[in-house]
Symmetry: D2
Subunit: 291 residues, 4 copies
């Protein structure tokens, strides 16, 4: 249909291929920065030669983070570098650029007076991404542990979006989950979800009883005093983004096994992660009156 | 022990008797505004003659709402009126007065330079009270419906503290729950909890399929256009506080069965409601360095 | 349609009205033994004058139990007695009579060489009826207890169809459920469902810790030694059919509060109970090649 | 303590090391058929030189299956062959031999008039093993699928011990589970657990809608007509023991991805599997009056 808006998805990991595919139900979708073999969808048109062949688009979708240097788009699968300025040239003046954490790239679009929107600031995306993140964490636990989740005493640090999803999932599988938080309301919520609750200040005292510790708090909470009191073969799974919640040096000193898992949605469930991003993009466009 | 702080619980419904009892584990507790027969605890001392016999206390706990007129405390069980000014006289100058929604009563303590704290503003209390509220709602549904919760299509309006607890509880019992909300993030959370999700703008279109509608949104969302499209024997349970979420006049016109349930915690689970309040009070005192 | 088989539902409580209504989707359905006002369905024809006006039917559905004396059908709502012999005369020679616990009534049909089938022997019915039974039990607990189910220590005796449903439901609501059974495999199942498990032989030792005891074992397991050790205000809910699992005399002596709940499906969820029976009847007819 | 009974655990996979360790809390435990490095427990004594050094024991624990040929014990970790006759010589005349599926090995003990017991016939073991089996299946699904379990349409064939555990686990994780069975009572149980239910005869008609099919029925139910109708990238996980439930030839022809997972408890959760076996052995010994 001619009246369909045009979207260009440029760069990003595998999930962006599925984002492009999911958006193709309602938009005319182009993708740049991917080799043909990982885009097996006839409804997504690959634009191979970057720069020349780029279609003019209403909406440009960029990855997370958008760019490391403010010049090139983060595009791990691209055979040729994707320059922000060439992509900028492909966007209509009344179009919009959606990305996750623009950083230095923001200026490029600001200077050109092109609207931008950061999908990482959408609560909906964060809420939905907690599911693939928690499932990715579960997979790691199932792979690493020589015993079942059922019956296992597990400590979950934090009861935000990811912590609450993970704790509830583990509880549903029969684990005996204890949630640690600074916040009395979070602790109350954890108890309502069938978990035990312990104040963060008590962490050093209680950590020795738990063979598994999953951290979701974005702060150095698994520090030396905590690591020191862990039992010998405790598994620590850190889900906090950089710089992470575990003192890795101290962990090494004590011989603690630490798995630091980043960007789980895109790695373990790229299809779902892509669909979630497409859903959020749709709502962002709707709220801004673009479609 | 002499070093225990002294608490006076004055007025309120049955839950305040259990609050007093729960606080008696750590404090010296007096209660005013209750007949002997509903205070069967040896660790709570009743102060019969109000005014004269009132003990000097470190902490005064008042009901919710504190007072209707700013003169007398809300005390449905009291045989004699409890005057705010006489109670004020019982509080040490460096003491604290805790109540729920002070309203006109605030001035009494302000003028006397006595600290106050409103427990209804504590997130913890609201979170924990969602449990007795949701169980009270469940009891009403079990009593009113001639069929099981299991397998029943139920619409829950709102997915805040009460809506989310109620929806998850009904889902766990096998109901097919659909959550209605304005907010995309709330809808995402509802889906994560196993419910279907529908935007509030779609409510009139979908309401006819549901024999049960539970409202938790504090706004007139069950209005004439919604009521008009409900099936004949739909049960509407309104958990929103005054003025309620249902257009009662229109409901009467259409012959819709509406149960408007207020203050469920205190009514259906006074013991738990009392313990929850005591827990919150403990945390409030701790945060303020009082104990 | 002329090709529809004819069913006569005769006697029984309110659930049989809903059974008749549910069967009317596929059969030509008559009902006897009910006043007009409790049969508000245009697809069920009431046969007022018993004996004369009875339609010839392919399938006769009788209540549970079928009859107390082998002469009259159990029909609490009937204004005139329903005689088994008159009903027998209404059934085609190649028809079938379905009932629950025929007892003395069996001979009537045997002598006439009419096939019978006992739906109470169908595993499916027993499995499905556990849902309304457990919900009925839940309603009683919510009504009787002054605290929430969530957080409450509850003892469930037996982990058969009803015990397992009830225990899982209470666990899902946040109760701390301990299951008691003689059978190691049942105890293993209970642990898998998130409950604690205790051997029946340990019941007297552990009962004092539980404010609520729900019995589903059809044997006198709550006997004097158990009652003696219960805490003062324990609530005992007995779901075992006659003669029940509680020594009521001893309970009275110790002042224990006992609620003995019988036939909960028909009482608390007659619509669902009726639909369940209709579903079972359909499967029985299908297995026997009748439709 | 001298009064402790002596157990010899001979042969088997890693789980038997943990069985030996778990039994060491109450027995004097020896193990044969394992190298030192996989038995890091000071409470289990390894008997290196088989035949000579074997201790006289009250209880001999053998693996599952006990033996392939009736001569040597199944002992994948053993550096020297473990002969049934030498092990027999180590058992007291009033002792007992516990194993899983004795087969040809049964005669050895019968001829010597030594009691045997087959733990694979214990319902408790089968019930408890469903947990590590279902968790192992879950791990495979999480590893194989590019999307989340949450929201995924999954078909579970069979609702016995493993099927029911798996279905409930997947449902708890947010999957939309449909259970297939021949048995109306099993289908009723599946519906009660929040799943949809479909008769086995309908399998070919419905299979195309499901990207994931998990089989637990020990019969060739995933046959050519079923495979033919599956969608292109369906994942089939077969949990049925040999000869399996999938027509592998037909699957290869249609290019269907099949994972056939056997002995999951011992592989994915050897610690838990070992503890489960020890628990069952304890109960078997208790029932036989041995301890």
């Amino acid at each position: 249909m001619n009246s369909k808006k045009t979207i260009l998805v440029a760069g990003g990991d595998l999930r962006f291929v599925y984002t492009a595919h999911a958006l193709a139900a309602d938009f005319e979708v182009y993708a740049a920065g991917f080799p043909q073999q990982i885009v097996p969808f006839s409804d997504v048109r690959l634009t191979g030669a970057v720069g020349d062949g780029l279609p003019v688009c209403d909406i440009l979708v960029l990855p997370m983070p958008v760019s490391d240097d403010g010049v090139l788009v983060h595009a791990p699968f691209a055979q040729q570098a994707l320059s922000l300025h060439k992509l900028l040239a492909a966007v209509r003046q009344d179009g919009i650029v959606l990305g996750g954490a623009f950083g230095k790239a923001a200026a490029v679009f600001q200077d050109a007076h092109i609207r931008t929107g950061d999908y990482l600031k959408e609560e909906e995306l964060a809420v939905l991404n907690a599911v693939p993140t928690a499932e990715g964490a579960l997979q790691i636990l199932l792979e690493e542990l020589p015993h079942t989740i059922s019956g296992c005493r597990i400590l979950v640090l934090g009861f935000g979006r990811i912590g609450s999803r993970l704790a509830q999932m583990l509880h549903a599988l029969g684990a005996r989950v204890t949630v640690v938080s600074r916040d009395t309301a979070e602790l109350a919520r954890a108890e309502m979800a069938g978990c035990s609750a312990v104040s963060l200040s008590q962490l050093p005292e209680c950590v020795a009883e738990f063979p598994v510790v999953c951290n979701t708090i974005p702060a150095r909470v698994v520090d030396e005093p905590v690591l020191q009191r862990m039992a010998a073969d405790t598994l620590v799974l850190d889900l906090a983004s950089k710089p992470g919640g575990v003192d890795l040096e101290a962990a090494q000193e004590y011989g603690t096994r630490v798995v630091w898992a980043l960007s789980l949605p895109g790695k373990t469930a790229p299809v779902t992660a892509g669909e979630i991003l497409a859903r959020t993009i749709r709502h962002m466009l709707k709220e801004r009156g673009i479609c």
